[in-house]
Amino acid sequence: MNYASWIQRVGATIVDAIPFAILAGIGGAADSDMGAVFWIFYLIGVVYLIFNRWYLGGQGATIGKKALGLRLIGEQSGQPIGTAMAFVRDICHFVDSIICYIGYLFPLWDAKRQTIADKIVKTVVIKAA
């Protein structure tokens, strides 16, 4: 299986973050006192994150992964994992973070280029054909 490299996954994450960063930036610029306008833009950003990471991610690829030609699939099934499991996978990223973010570096040396969250929910990120 053609697993995505660490740097490709980082690139996809950066692309995923750009719309949220733009929305938060616009909200912050429009309302530096963090009033209603700021929070409206922030919430739009949160909705985008949920849609992107859980719905699109559950379908196989977030915007970032699509841009870099990657796919998130179940290790055994070879199929997209669905919205619910994409949500669970993101919760499991807590484990990647709590050990001083070392979990996010696992793809550098892991045979299947998995983070700890990937190992828990049994997913892999591959280069789409």
Binding site: W6, I7, C100, I102, L108, W109, A111
Partner: protein
């Protein structure tokens, strides 16, 4: 399964990414107010083995070698690994070097032990740096 690049080479590639990020990190944190707090230190006050790496990387990227060593020597170790492995990565990309030979089980085991020992040493260094020992 033959890897296209060895793990040290991939860590060297990671070092390039760290160098790039370290060069812009001060501007990024100043502009956004975001940072990379240590979860262990945030929750318990106790530093982890990797505390100071961000600061050390930024110091190294900006030419402050001694400051970098005082923050966390692992940043310099990663930089050395990067300098050593980048030529090999380039050679492999150009097809001038064969794919790496897999390490034996014994070599992998010894490397894992060495990595754990290095992490333990780094932890002691950070505990001392923060006044715990």
């Amino acid at each position: 399964m033959r890897r296209q690049y060895s793990i040290p080479e991939r860590l060297g590639g990671f070092g390039i990414a760290v160098a790039g990020a370290a060069a812009v990190w001060p501007a990024f944190t100043a502009g956004t107010g975001l940072g990379l707090p240590c979860p262990l230190r945030w929750m318990t006050g106790i530093p982890c083995p990797f505390c100071g790496l961000t600061t050390a990387a930024v110091d190294l990227a900006h030419g402050r070698l001694l400051a970098s060593l005082a923050d966390n020597p692992a940043a310099l170790a990663l930089a050395i690994l990067t300098v050593v492995t980048v030529p090999l990565i380039v050679l492999r990309q150009l097809g001038l070097a064969a794919t790496p030979v897999p390490w034996s089980a014994r070599t992998r085991r010894r490397t894992q032990v060495a990595a754990i020992a290095a992490a333990a040493a780094s932890w002691l260094f950070q505990l001392h740096r923060f006044g715990f020992v």
